[in-house]
């Protein structure tokens, strides 16, 4: 058994590095993006191999799905508007020096990794002892939403800042690309697929507390459904003019802060989930986070505000 899995690891590792080199070496940009999508898929297999199922789920939803769509969408914008300029890169001498420098740095880091102790529990034992009080059976969810909830709070802040950054970018004057209505088959496909994807997202969210799954996986899958609706013109790109849209974006962050502060009123520390309420609070937070993450990722896909749809003037007075 281990001999076969060992061969599997060797082939997987070689494929990963070859794909990475391929992405960066090919002249054609489109070929790079396709190789990058395959790279995301291979990474989710690597996570499966390392017992990291939560990461496998996120990589599958984000790496193979959203990032590929984001890159293709940007290539679409770029290709349709400007010619392809072969890029100047450093001369052969410079590249050789760069390769040597990166290689030696890699060797030094490899040596440091080589010196790692073989058996090492890290904080794993400590997480296991407190898992019962954390309100979640899945240790990764327990770490994300209880032990190190502050990290997740700041991370949701990063997501909201990303949306504000794209929204603050002045409107895009480029023409809207998919003006023509989708064909019969594509419309039917989206019509059939989106409900199933929403169900899968709900399933992942509900599983999150006890098994791999949770807000990020569910949000990313939901966002993929949103991208499909957006691409086929079923949904207009959100312009973040209405308060409701903006409220949905910040919903996860504000809810997280509200829970953290409300708990403090009860004499606990910031973000200290009382044992009795831990599970319900985690589930509440995860649901609101899923909605916010899905909307944020769809807005990030849609990019800046397109001038054609709305005048640049802001909402209200």
């Amino acid at each position: 058994m281990t001999a076969i899995l060992w061969a599997f690891d060797v082939v997987l590792a070689v494929t990963l590095v070859a794909l990475a080199a391929g992405v960066l070496a090919t002249a054609s940009l489109f070929r790079s993006i396709v190789l990058f999508i395959v790279f995301g898929l291979t990474m989710s297999i690597a996570w499966a191999r390392l017992d990291a199922v939560d990461l496998g789920l996120v990589e599958a939803a984000v790496g193979a799905g959203l990032t590929g769509a984001l890159l293709l969408n940007t290539l679409g914008h770029m290709r349709s508007q400007a010619e392809f300029t072969p890029e100047p890169s450093h001369g052969p001498g410079g590249r050789l020096a760069l390769a040597l420098a990166a290689g030696t740095a890699g060797l030094a880091i490899g040596a440091a990794v080589w010196a790692w102790p073989d058996a090492f529990a890290g904080l794993g034992d400590r997480v296991d002892t407190h898992l019962a009080e954390s309100g979640a059976q899945n240790p990764v969810t327990a770490v994300l939403l209880n032990f190190r909830a502050y990290d997740t709070l700041l991370e949701i802040g990063v997501l909201v800042v990303a949306v504000v950054a794209v929204w603050a970018l002045s409107p895009m004057r480029g023409r809207v690309l998919d003006a023509d209505p989708p064909g019969l088959v594509l419309a039917g496909f989206v019509h059939l697929l989106v409900p199933v994807v929403v169900l899968v997202a709900g399933y992942l969210l509900w599983m999150g507390t006890d098994a791999p799954g949770g807000a990020f996986q569910a949000g990313a899958v939901l966002a993929a459904a949103g991208v499909l609706l957006l691409i086929t013109g079923r949904v207009a790109p959100p312009q973040l003019q209405a308060i409701v849209e903006r409220g949905a974006v910040v919903l996860g962050l504000v809810a997280f802060l509200a829970v953290g502060v409300a708990v403090m009123a009860g004499g606990h520390a910031f973000l200290e989930l009382p044992d009795a309420w831990a599970t319900t609070l985690i589930l509440l937070l995860e649901s609101l986070l899923t909605i916010s993450i899905a909307i944020v990722l769809v807005i990030l896909f849609a990019g800046g505000r397109t001038d054609a749809a709305h005048p640049p003037e802001d909402a209200a007075p």
Binding site: D9, V10, A13, L16, V17, A20, V23, L24, L29, S32, I33, F36, A46, R49, L50, D51, A52, L55, V58, G63, T67, L71, T74, L75, H77, M78, Q81, A82, E87, P88, S89, R95, L98, A99, A102, A105, G106, W116, A119, A121, G122, G124, P139, V140, A142, V143, D151, E155, V158, L159, A162, V166, L169, S170, M172, R173, G174, L300, G303, G304
Partner: protein
């Protein structure tokens, strides 16, 4: 050569390829992909280190760190791509004279 060491070294190899790619290439899309490859390498090193518990179970803290890292990397990539699209849309405006206004303000 344990599982941990093998995947950690793969991560380091990805890191080296990514950094070399980032520094040597100029096109913005390829630079964004290179940064994501560097990220994938760092995340592999993190998760490989979490697979060394004598009990065979995994250490969830690096997994949570990598999950946070992936979400942060996606949001930064999305912002970078939005900027790239904005630059390209700006390139379009060259034709309708907005460029001169840029140059004038830039001085």
């Amino acid at each position: 050569m344990t599982l941990t060491l093998w995947y950690a070294l793969t991560g380091v190899a990805l890191l080296v390829v990514g950094v070399y790619g980032l520094v040597s290439r100029v096109h913005v899309l390829r630079q964004i992909m290179a940064v994501n490859i560097v990220g994938a390498g760092v995340f592999l090193v993190l998760v490989a280190g979490a697979h060394r518990r004598p009990s065979g179970a995994i250490d969830p803290v690096p997994h949570a760190m990598v999950l946070t890292g992936i979400v942060v990397a996606v949001s930064a990539t999305a912002v970078a791509l939005a900027f790239a699209r904005r630059l390209r849309a700006d390139a379009d405006e060259r034709t309708d004279g907005a460029a001169r206004e840029d140059e004038a303000r830039a001085g």
